[in-house]
């Protein structure tokens, strides 16, 4: 194998500057750097790095080095080391002068040979590590470093930039093993293997990426799923009162008793089920934590968990924290119905749980009674748990929300999760809860007790007031959202999108292909830059991103003026191709 064909850079500039004296050199100037990981950045060559991540051949998802797109192009380290086909990127290496000043302080463990330059087709390296298939991006970096020292030795140091590129220990070891004969600095490599393997599947959230672009272009943000209006006064006042009353110390780990009973009352009203507030309700920092606690407390490494794609992006990452194996059943337009046959074939004796989200983010689908009954019978037959994420249950417009826990035989195997944030437009308060039978609650509480230990006390008091809101609150909430939805849906149709019906949540999925973009990410970037509106590309919500490339998600949890403005921009500036 000709390592001259490979170039691997893994570093942070800080690390380079501080650590470089740990490496032994035979002569000054003999430095090169490794870079594993900007495969995804490189090949697409387009400006938007989110675009790169999607429009180019990906590493296999099961590869040990699942690499992620680089952070903002402004990130200092990345602009130093990022290489890509686009001529707009510049390389800058640590200056030759600085390198020249490096001493040969450290003892080499093995005799140093003059190492070759590594640059060029690092895809070759990746292929040889067996880390990716079908990677077609090839590029030659020699022209970039021809200005620098052609003969270099190695600093095999690995780091990550401030967001998101992680390398499994296996990858690092493999890279090191390849380079060892050429005299890399193993101790330095080892120092940087500090992040856990469970982060292999973590990536920059698409929301952050889109938000940054949105701010840059002054676009109207219909991407992020939280309101730009605030919660009701009576709830905020309850929180203020609680703070003034001194309710500022640790709450009981499983929740303030008053809130637990309010949750029980509300659940009874919604489902008819009677549950025990002490033993069957756990208050968490948002539904996000309820999901994390359920997974960590109830899933063993290697268990299979079935998800419905598209799914909220944190499910996959959290399941990988629990070391679960994920199987996804795709919900397809136009009605995103559950394919029972697919589901039946996915369930195996290793299936531990099925995760359902209804009303569903991002499609707006609501699971029908028939679908839930099918799922229920499969679960009972195969002794499978259900994790039900029902945060949008009060935003059920076109259909009745049904909690799967209320179906016969299901309560004993279901964890029902919900939160305050969406219903009361107070997403930043982080009040959520999980309802489950005692034996499942126990596992969940174990995880919760070390994840956050207890939940924000004053907000819990306010939440108990909120949950006792009269029916009129919920009716008004629905009315308001229906009006907003009408503005958005009509506007999207008029602008030329293919709009799929959304029965619940405050999201609408549309097909963007009438506008001629290759995929959802390209379309979203175009929408931000040329039209001034933000939507979320949905390919991130699938295990196989290809399945989502025609679809994007809009939200209508914004005030009417904002929605109208966004709609106008789209009607004016979007052109069908």
């Amino acid at each position: 194998m000709d390592l001259r064909a490979t170039r691997v850079v893994i570093s942070s500039r800080d690390a380079l500057e501080k650590k470089v004296n740990h490496v032994s050199f035979t002569e000054p100037h003999r430095i090169s750097v490794f870079h594993v990981g900007l495969v995804e950045a490189a090949a697409a060559g387009s400006e938007g790095w989110a675009g790169r991540a999607r429009s180019m051949p990906r590493l296999r998802r099961d590869s040990p080095a699942y690499l992620t797109p680089p952070p903002s192009p402004n990130h200092e380290m990345l602009s130093s080391f990022c290489f890509c086909r686009s001529a707009t990127r510049r390389f800058s290496y640590p200056s030759a002068a600085r390198m020249a000043a490096v001493s040969t302080a450290s003892e080499a463990k093995e005799p140093q040979q003059p190492p070759p330059v590594l640059f060029g087709h690092y895809s070759g390296l990746m292929a040889q590590l067996g880390l990716c298939s079908n990677l077609t991006a090839q590029f030659d970096l020699s022209h970039h470093i021809s200005n620098y020292q052609p003969d270099c030795s190695f600093i095999g140091f690995l780091g990550t930039h401030s967001t998101m590129t992680y390398f499994s220990s296996k990858t690092l070891y493999a890279v090191w093993a390849l380079l060892r004969p050429y005299g890399t600095a193993w101790p330095m490599l080892k120092s940087y293997i500090t992040v856990a393997k469970r982060l292999d599947k973590f990536k920059t959230t698409i929301f952050t990426q889109m938000s940054m672009l949105a701010v840059k272009h002054g676009a109207i943000n219909l991407g992020q799923g939280f309101p730009n209006f605030d919660g009701p006064d009576f709830v905020k006042e309850a929180a203020i009162q609680a703070i003034r009353d001194g309710k500022n110390q640790y709450a009981r780990g499983c929740g303030v008793p008053d809130l637990n009973s309010a949750i029980v009352d509300r659940f009874h009203k919604d489902t008819g089920l009677h549950i025990d507030p002490e033993k069957e309700v756990t208050v968490t920092s948002g539904c996000t934590e309820a999901i994390a606690a359920a997974m960590l407390g109830l899933i063993n490494p290697g268990d299979e968990v079935i998800l419905f794609a598209p799914f909220y992006d944190s499910y996959e990452a959290t399941l990988s924290m629990a070391d679960a194996k994920i199987k996804a059943i795709t919900l397809r337009p136009p009605d995103f119905a559950v394919s029972v046959d697919e589901l039946k074939s996915a369930v195996s004796k290793n299936t531990r749980a099925i995760l359902i989200n209804t009303p569903h983010n991002p499609t707006g689908k609501m699971f029908t009674r028939a679908e839930l009954e099918q799922i229920a019978s499969l679960c009972i037959e195969n002794d499978v748990l259900v994790f039900a994420d029902e945060v949008y249950d009060k935003l059920a417009f076109e259909a009745e929300h049904i909690s799967i826990a209320s179906l016969p035989g299901m309560y004993e195997r279901t964890v029902t999760m919900n939160s305050l944030g969406k219903t009361f437009s107070l997403t930043g308060w982080k009040i959520g809860w999980a309802i489950a039978p005692p034996h499942l609650t126990w596992g969940l509480r174990q995880a919760h007790s070390f994840l956050t230990f207890s939940t924000s006390t004053p907000m819990q008091w306010a939440a108990s007031v909120a949950l006792r809101a009269p029916d009129t609150y919920y009716e008004e909430l629905k009315r308001d959202y229906l009006a907003k939805k009408a503005i958005l849906v009509e506007g999207l149709k008029a602008a030329g999108f293919i709009v799929y019906p959304s029965s619940g949540t405050y999201f609408v999925m549309v097909d963007h292909t009438p506008f001629g973009c290759e995929n959802d990410i390209d379309f979203c970037e175009y929408l931000i830059k040329e039209v001034g509106v933000v939507a979320i590309p949905t390919s991130v919500f699938y295990l196989n991103p290809e399945e989502g490339k025609n679809l994007v998600r809009f939200t209508f949890c914004k005030d009417e003026e904002t929605l109208r403005a966004a709609v106008e921009r789209m009607k004016e500036r979007l052109h069908k191709s």
Binding site: Y250, A317, P437, F450, F453, M459
Partner: protein, 391 residues
């Protein structure tokens, strides 16, 4: 259905402290068991929270200002340079910061050293991440670092050392001296391990002791993760605002985990944190002075009723006192009696010891008292203790 629980969660047990708390509540006992204050939070901080709620700062947010202020404090207090944009992760309390740190750094089979005595939270967290907690006993009566035992606890699998000097998970109030920290630091560097610190009591240190973070020792900044929170400094343990501070790469990993575990710390309290962190120096000095007085009061009281207080705590709000020589009861029985007869609750010390590292009988001779209570509460406890104990 029990089979549906994960193996990891089944390995964990219910907390003995909770049981005592329930008993204490039932008997209406004065609570010197739990480590949170019964006096109000400072007004300027509460006002800031109220104002934030009223100003509609109630949606998901990340308040960068907190990181900026923390970076300044790191520089002021420890002469450490951290980048506010990349090196801090705001979490739901130090609890979440610690959990996220463990999940971000500990893989299956990694060993983590914990100094004993210590509360069980660290252990649970490590086990759930697939790691192996390894306890390193400190030597009574002063809970000094036993260098030999410490060095022998390291193996090829050791990934991190947890330092809980300024933490409620350290019942003894012992703070590592500079020399001890240097030993620990040298070992971390030599064995290429991380140091994870829990510094929630960083402003509650006594005598001439200045809070020294191991990260400020040579070569340690790049391998130390500092976790802390608002809770104890500002008497708002229920607000859940904490943070992890680490070198960029590790902070990034922690942030990733945090985003999946809770995504954001409560928004209005993040805003209030800005006001809190900008409190004038007088706030911190009077906080210290108040706690010193409380500590001394409680030590006097305990000594005069017969407890052996070998180690005057140099930090945190707990006194780990050994039962009077004449008392033949075990720690649990003593505490139960104390609740029932004297109406004062404390925590039996055995729950803080692990393995057979210390003498078993030794382990059941300690009781932990908290002094983060109002002066009225402490006086009332004093009266009750004197009338019932040491007769």
């Amino acid at each position: 259905m029990e089979a549906k629980l994960s193996k990891a969660s089944r390995a964990l047990n219910a907390s003995p402290i909770q049981e005592i708390s329930h008993l204490a509540q039932r008997c209406g006992a004065i609570n010197l068991a739990e480590g949170f204050p019964d006096f109000p939070a400072p007004p300027h901080v509460k006002h800031a929270a109220v104002a934030a709620i009223a100003a509609d700062l109630n949606q998901y947010r990340h308040v960068q200002g907190i990181c900026d202020l923390l970076a300044v404090k790191m520089k002021q207090n420890h002469v450490l340079d951290f980048d506010p944009l990349t090196d801090f992760v705001i979490c739901c309390g130090q609890s979440e910061a610690f959990a996220a740190t463990i999940l971000a750094t500990i893989d299956q089979g990694d060993e983590v050293l914990i100094f004993d005595p210590a509360y069980e939270t660290y252990e649970s967290c490590i086990i759930l991440a697939g790691g192996i907690p390894v306890y390193v006993p400190l030597d009574p009566p002063y809970w000094t670092l036993n260098v030999d035992k410490f060095m022998r606890s390291f193996t090829g699998r050791t990934k991190a050392v947890v330092l809980n000097s300024y933490s409620p998970h350290n019942p003894t109030g012992k703070v590592f001296s500079k020399e001890e920290l240097e030993v620990i630091a040298a070992a971390c560097c030599q064995m290429d391990c991380l140091a994870i610190t829990d510094e929630v009591y960083e402003y509650i240190t006594f005598d001439t002791h200045k809070h020294l973070s191991i990260a400020s020792l040579p070569m340690m900044k790049e391998r130390t993760i500092i976790t802390s929170s608002l809770s104890k400094t500002f008497s708002v343990t229920g607000w859940r605002i904490g943070w992890a501070c680490a070198p960029t790469a590790i902070a990034s990993a922690i942030r990733n985990i945090h985003i999946k575990v809770t995504d954001s710390a409560p928004a209005p309290f993040q805003e209030a944190a800005l006001a809190a962190l900008q409190s004038p120096p007088e706030y911190f000095s009077s906080l210290k002075a108040d706690y010193v007085a409380k500590r001394n009061f409680l030590i006097k009281m305990l000594s005069e009723v017969g407890f052996q207080v070998h180690n005057k705590p140099q930090g945190s709000v707990f006194i780990f006192a050994e039962l009077p020589k004449t008392c033949l009861l075990s720690d649990i029985d003593f505490v139960k009696e104390l609740i029932e007869k004297a109406g004062v609750a404390a925590v039996p010390g055995r729950g803080f010891f692990h393995g057979d590292c210390n003498d078993q009988t030794q382990q059941s001779r300690y009781v932990r008292f908290a002094f983060c209570k109002s002066n009225d509460t402490l006086s009332a406890a004093d009266q009750k203790m004197r009338s019932c104990v040491g007769k």
